[in-house]
């Protein structure tokens, strides 16, 4: 696998005395792509799976060990987006955004990647710690669909692993990639969605003003984009230690957003 990101040669923890060995991984993805099957395979648990969407409604947790690291895996409900339009989307979005997992593992369907990549790009707007699992590779093969996972990894700037979770194919490699990521051996450089000039210039105005309020919050660009969509209640969810003071927003008549 070649990924459009550089390999860090230093040993984990060499210049960092407090080496962690417990990591949280969120499992996100469209409905019915095999998230719970991946979850069960990795943890040895028996989450509800079946061939209809919407089975996982609340998040489930499980644990696995690999290369002397402990991982807590959180199985999220399947969603097409992270816009918090439904309860499921809210659960998935809030976990990825505010619980700050060490890695978000997005599971996708190899037979309809175009549809699945929408969510991948939305996750990449929130966090750069993302691994893409292209599942159902056996189904794709049956339908004569070829997926170039290396090219996809280059395009997205994150590791991409092909799997057939029902038979367990590719899951060892997936665990190794997750391990390399938490060990800092893989550093991602995620593709960023660039919007039209008008929107980008508004984002550029808002972002530095947000920096005053949330100096410790990493994805201010994403917060700025949500504010532009009028989602002001988002600010209630941001942990207090990331906020200096409570910012309030207002859309002016000409459509411009001002922070009060």
């Amino acid at each position: 696998m070649t990924v459009n990101c550089h390999i860090v040669s230093t040993e984990p923890g060499k210049d960092n005395p407090t080496v962690r060995n417990h990591f949280i991984i969120a499992l996100a993805g469209n409905p019915n792509v095999g998230k719970s099957t991946v979850f069960n395979r990795l943890t040895g648990m028996k989450q509800h799976t079946g061939n209809w969407p919407g089975k996982t409604v609340i998040k489930a947790e499980g644990t696995f060990y690999h290369r002397n690291r402990r991982y807590t895996l959180v199985d999220l409900p399947g969603t097409y987006s992270l816009h918090a339009g439904s309860a499921d989307e809210q659960v998935a979005r809030d976990f990825i955004c505010f619980s700050r997992p060490d890695i978000t593992l997005v599971v996708s369907d190899a037979t309809c990647l175009e549809r699945n990549l929408n969510l991948v790009l939305q996750v990449l707007e929130i966090t750069s710690q993302v691994v893409l699992c292209v599942n159902l590779m056996d189904e794709a093969k049956r339908k004569r669909i070829q997926v170039d996972t290396e090219k996809l990894a280059q395009e997205l700037g994150i590791p991409v692993v092909g799997t057939a979770a029902r038979s367990g194919q590719g899951l060892n490699r997936l665990k190794n990639v997750l391990g390399d990521m938490v060990d800092g051996k893989i550093v991602t450089s995620p593709r960023c969605v660039v919007y039209d000039q008008e929107l980008e210039s508004l984002v550029q105005q808002i972002e530095p003003r947000l920096a005053i309020y949330m100096p410790n919050w990493v994805n201010r660009r994403w917060v700025a984009l949500r504010l532009l969509e009028g989602e002001f209640n988002l600010l209630n969810h941001i942990p207090h230690n990331a906020l200096m003071d409570y910012p309030r927003g207002e859309i002016k008549e000409d459509g411009a957003l001002c922070l009060l």
Partner: protein, 81 residues
């Protein structure tokens, strides 16, 4: 004049290409996230007994849409088989 046809108007078993979405804000966003993107092909595959919602095949998945949503999606049926 060809673009006044909406997804709600096409019969079950037929196909169309999306030309535009005539709604704004969160509703537009939701439809786009479901894969209803201009330029995409949609197949009407089944209508519920009550006539609403209707199931469509879009980008490799079945999506059920209420008529209120389907009527916001303008389509062109020419040249789509």
């Amino acid at each position: 004049m060809h673009s006044s046809l909406s997804l709600a108007d096409i019969p079950v078993g037929s196909s169309a290409r999306i030309t535009s979405i005539v709604t704004i804000g969160p509703n537009r966003r939701r439809l786009l996230d479901l894969g209803l993107v201009p330029g995409s092909r949609v197949d009407s595959i089944r209508r519920s007994p009550a006539g609403n919602p209707t199931a469509y095949w879009i980008k490799g998945t079945v999506i059920a849409l209420r008529n209120e949503d389907a009527s916001q999606i303008l389509v062109d049926t020419r040249g789509v088989f």
